[in-house]
């Protein structure tokens, strides 16, 4: 409990800002869904056959897994709040549409006849009789949609829309239950709060309800726009994947650029997967992001490394990027965040394991747990290992990155993939098996931009290149440990490193 309160206290600023983001996204998505769903539901009561088709289409949209839907939005609408809101609207449409349709269709026939009989025109009949009588059913649909939106909006953090999902995903990434709760509990409370507001709105007259919703909308819009209005100078957006390391490095980029130029830098750390980021860069939603040389070869340009020399790989990746996408990586840092295979130290000692090849003698007792990505990468993942070392394990379990450490601690698995700079290697007392066949290419981190962008903003190159050749594996491991285990702020850790190494004036 105490640690929970400590975590809460250290995160209260973040909690407030993500809570506000969450409210903004949810409210706007709900409002749009209602503005589309209610009139559409009303129109559908006039054409029964079309109604069934439309409601079925909405039902199909509802079955798309939320993460998939968010992923689909990136190529179309980029990253950030806009695609998140579109995805949420798609989700929320069905309950609102279906309840409006049912509510209106089930108004007592004699009341409709009375309304027609006394000469109400269709619009007046709708507004004065059908809508008010159907309102409880419609609002039940809106409330269902609201709960769906607030829940699903926690995933919007994966495409850079922010919200309480930032805290929850960070908590999952760091294996920090308190952090997860600090994100999840306000989300639940928010759902209850919205429910109360919706009940109040339901009991108001049209005029008052519209005024109230309008006021909330304007306030939210102002809160959303305020930061844009106060911004001086141009702003750049630099992004990174989910995890402590990208957070620290992108914050270093921010500090360096803001120190030496007039630009403001927005750090969009914690974005989902490589493809999310690359798509976002292509569609100019972000200006640059932290990428790794090996990932460029393996996933983006899809060519095998010609050599395992770090510099050669960097040159090869940069040339291919330039040819295929007209993009450039600036000079890389020293640390090599490559894939490795790791085991517990006592397991290694017991079986005399030093290299990956040593695993062949104990193939039968090895229980590997890999990330889905590693299990799937043909160039430098498990398939490549199998081929190079002639290894074949029986049942490979694939799991979320953070769960592997718990699994290896509990003995469910005894071999896992890891990144060389993972803080947990130190935390869980593990050793890395040497890659004698050089299957894993070097993974050196560097900021990646469109060439066109660099041509327009040449002044950012020099500050960013200050990190060239800096930060060793050990330094990175240490900084990762401080952020993910000791819960220090990535910004502070980044700033401290830059100061200690005299990279700031």
């Amino acid at each position: 409990m105490n640690t929970f309160l400590e975590t809460l206290n250290s995160r209260k600023g973040e909690l407030l800002s993500t809570l506000i983001e969450h409210i903004q996204i949810s409210f706007i998505a709900l409002l749009i869904a209602a503005v589309i769903g209610i009139p559409l539901g009303v129109i559908l009561t006039k054409t029964k056959r079309t109604a069934e088709v439309v409601i079925n289409v909405a039902a199909v949209l509802q079955t798309i897994p939320s993460l998939a839907l968010l992923g689909l939005m990136i190529p179309l609408f980029g990253i950030g709040v806009v695609p998140a809101i579109i995805a949420l609207v798609i989700y929320a449409l069905l309950p609102i549409l279906r309840n409006t349709y049912t509510g209106i269709a089930e108004v007592d026939a004699s009341l409709v006849e009375a309304a027609r009989g006394i000469g109400m025109k269709p619009m007046r009949r709708l507004m004065k009789v059908e809508m008010p009588i159907a309102m409880p059913v419609i609002m039940a649909g809106v409330r269902t949609a609201m709960v769906l939106i607030i829940g699903t909006a926690t995933l919007a953090a994966l495409i850079g829309a922010g919200g309480l999902g930032d805290l929850i995903l960070l908590g999952i990434d760091r294996n920090n239950t308190h952090l997860i709760l600090i994100g999840a509990i306000p989300a639940a409370l928010l759902a209850i709060l919205f429910d109360v507001i919706l009940r109040v709105i339901q009991n108001l007259s049209y005029k008052k309800a519209v005024t109230l919703v309008g006021t909330i909308f304007i306030v939210i819009l102002l809160v959303a726009l305020a930061p844009l209005l106060t911004n001086r100078g141009d702003s750049l957006t630099i992004a990174g994947k989910l995890g402590a390391e990208p957070s620290i490095i992108t914050n270093m980029y921010k500090i360096l650029i803001e120190e030496e130029t007039d630009y403001n830098v927005n750090v969009e750390d914690g974005l989902g997967k490589t493809s999310f980021l690359f798509n976002a860069l292509e569609s100019d939603d972000i200006d640059g992001y932290l990428e790794f040389t090996g990932t460029v070869l393996g996933e983006l340009v899809n060519i095998p490394p010609e050599s395992n020399e770090a510099e050669a790989v960097y040159n090869q990746a940069n040339t291919a990027l330039d040819e295929q996408y007209d993009m450039t990586m600036l000079e890389p840092m020293a640390f090599n965040n490559t894939y490795t295979l790791a085991v517990k130290r006592d397991f290694a000692e017991e079986h005399g394991l030093e290299t990956i090849g040593d695993l062949r003698q104990i193939e039968d007792i090895v229980k590997p747990g890999f990330t889905m990505e590693f299990n799937d990468r043909t160039e430098d993942g498990y398939p490549a290992i199998q081929e190079a070392y002639n290894l074949n394990f029986n049942d490979v379990v694939t799991m979320e990155p953070q769960l592997r450490y718990q699994a290896i601690e509990s003995g469910d698995i005894n071999l896992m993939d890891a990144y060389a700079t993972d803080a947990e290697l130190r935390e869980y007392d593990m050793v890395i098996l040497e890659d004698t066949e050089a299957v894993f290419p070097p993974y050196q981190g560097a900021p990646m931009f469109k060439q066109e962008f660099l041509d327009e903003h040449p002044e950012i190159v020099e500050p960013l290149n200050k990190l060239s050749g800096m930060i060793t594996d050990e330094e990175m491991q240490d900084m990762n440990y401080r952020v993910s285990v000791e819960d220090e702020s990535p910004y502070d850790v980044a700033e401290e490193y830059l100061e200690e190494n005299n990279l700031l004036e």
């Binding site: 006849e113 009375a114 025109k121």
Partner: protein, 312 residues
């Protein structure tokens, strides 16, 4: 005021109303009656175009109903439903105000009219105007249903079995109120019922339907004195006029009397109440406007048994 000329309504191959022609005069209380499925409600709803007609013409104020803008025409034709169908989310005053609002009356005029109408049907405006329909009894609700139809002072009111959902006592009191009301407001009323007693009590003229056809149109007296055919006879004879007061048991032919040898009974006395007098006396004198008339036990029993269809 309303004229039907050879009006036919068909649903596919089924004929609901066939070749109906009649004329409802201004200020007349015109009753459409018949067994269920005879076409009486269809006929009513063709007047305000809730049901479109198939053939023929219906005139409202000498113009075919199809020539009117349908919504505006309905503002001039009040409509009372069997299901009452007050709007449950509106107050009583709001329910009544609907047509005046659509006619763009001033707020003050609407308030005044609402209060006036509520008073007319015995609902205190201050007590009831802000209540919801569910807070009223069935009889009170249908009183509101009637004044909702009257609100904008339309020349014509259509009533579709308005009292059939009410209990007998309430129904009777609403019938009485409607007669009183009609004397004051002199509207043209077209009234659908399946209850011949109600038709006889309320109607200036009755129009009897059977299987989509009109069997007879005439005043209640004409129905009693000259029923056109066996169907009409059966329909009304089945529920022949019930004699309720002592006065209805005496006729012009009854013997007059001037002395005080017999106990005297007022003609408005209910026959049931007179029974205890008959228990003691063979013959009583009934006080009528034509002087006192004699009525004996035999006459009473003859009439009562005839009413039940037995031979005297």
């Amino acid at each position: 005021m309303i004229e039907f000329k050879n009006v036919t309504k068909r649903y596919g191959s089924k004929t609901a109303v066939e070749d109906a022609s009649f004329n409802v005069k201004e200020g007349e209380f015109f009753v459409l009656i018949g067994p269920s499925g005879s076409g009486k409600t269809t006929t009513l709803k063709m007047i305000n175009r809730l049901i479109p007609l198939t053939e023929g013409y219906i005139y409202f104020k000498d113009k075919p109903v199809s020539d009117y803008e349908v919504y505006e025409m309905r503002w001039d034709i009040g409509y009372v439903l069997q299901q009452i169908a007050l709007f449950p989310h509106m107050t009583i005053a709001e329910n009544i105000a609907q047509v005046p609002q659509m006619k763009k009356w001033k707020e003050a005029d609407i308030d005044k009219r609402t209060a006036e109408l509520m008073t007319m049907v015995g609902l205190d405006p201050d007590t009831y105007k802000n209540r919801k329909p569910a807070e009223l009894s069935g009889g009170q609700q249908q009183r509101v249903g009637v004044i909702r139809a009257l609100a904008a002072d339309p020349p014509v009111i259509l009533m579709d079995e308005p009292f059939s959902a009410l209990d007998p006592i309430t129904r009777e009191s609403l019938q009485d109120d409607l007669i009183k009301l009609q004397r004051e407001i002199k509207k043209t009323i077209v009234f659908v019922t399946h209850d011949i007693k109600e038709a006889m009590k309320l109607g200036d003229r009755i129009c009897l339907f059977n299987e989509g056809q009109i069997e007879q149109i005439g005043s209640p007296d004409e129905f009693l004195s000259t029923p056109k055919n066996d169907f009409v006879k059966e329909f009304i004879g089945y529920q022949q006029k019930e004699r309720v007061t002592v006065g209805e048991f005496v006729s012009e032919n009854s013997q007059g009397v001037n002395n005080e040898d017999y106990p005297l009974v007022e003609e408005e006395t209910k026959i049931e109440d007179a029974f205890k007098v008959f228990a003691e006396h063979e013959t009583v004198a009934v006080k009528t406007k034509d002087g006192n008339k004699l009525l004996n036990r035999q006459d009473v029993f003859k009439h009562l048994s005839a009413k039940r269809g037995d031979s005297a």
